[in-house]
Symmetry: C2
Subunit: 96 residues, 2 copies
């Protein structure tokens, strides 16, 4: 087999991800460099911290919430959310 693995790059290469499809569904695994980012969703996203930590302001929330390694947060489709990254962080984003 020769499946090309797709790498995507965002925010001037400060966020990179690799796409995958398996029994769990469609996901990307990626890394965010230190910084602040705003992401938009087109599907429901299940974001899991794989290494590091994320501080997140979820849609329609005013408070920031911290997520450590192993934690998951969910963002509905067609929303935007803000992320502060204080150490380089790996994540798994599963789409639904």
């Amino acid at each position: 087999m020769s499946t090309a693995l797709t790498v995507n790059s965002y925010f001037n290469d400060q966020v990179k991800s690799i796409a995958l499809e398996n029994a769990e569904g469609t996901s990307t695994v990626g890394v965010m460099a230190v910084g602040e980012y705003e992401f938009g969703t087109s599907q429901r996203e299940y974001m899991t911290v794989v290494s590091g930590a994320l501080t997140v302001k979820l849609p329609a929330q005013t408070d920031w919430k911290s997520f450590a390694k192993g934690d998951t947060f969910i963002v509905e489709a067609n929303q935007s959310f803000q992320v502060k990254v204080e150490e380089t962080t790996a994540y798994l984003c599963r789409y639904e």
Copy 2:
């Protein structure tokens, strides 16, 4: 900050990874396409399945062992190990 995130590619692009350094240490997060691979280590590696599954023959072992999402196996430095990938799989590899 403008930290370049490094993407590496192995086995004719069937395995790709993104490097990161944070409080947990030095790691790569990556994806393996369906296939069979033999990896060599230069440091001790803690390999964790992030999504999917890996079937692994560890150094000096004759049996294959399956690792599911969330499972970790350890390979000492300067060893080689074989991996069978039956569905596209994301992993975290922490170096020590």
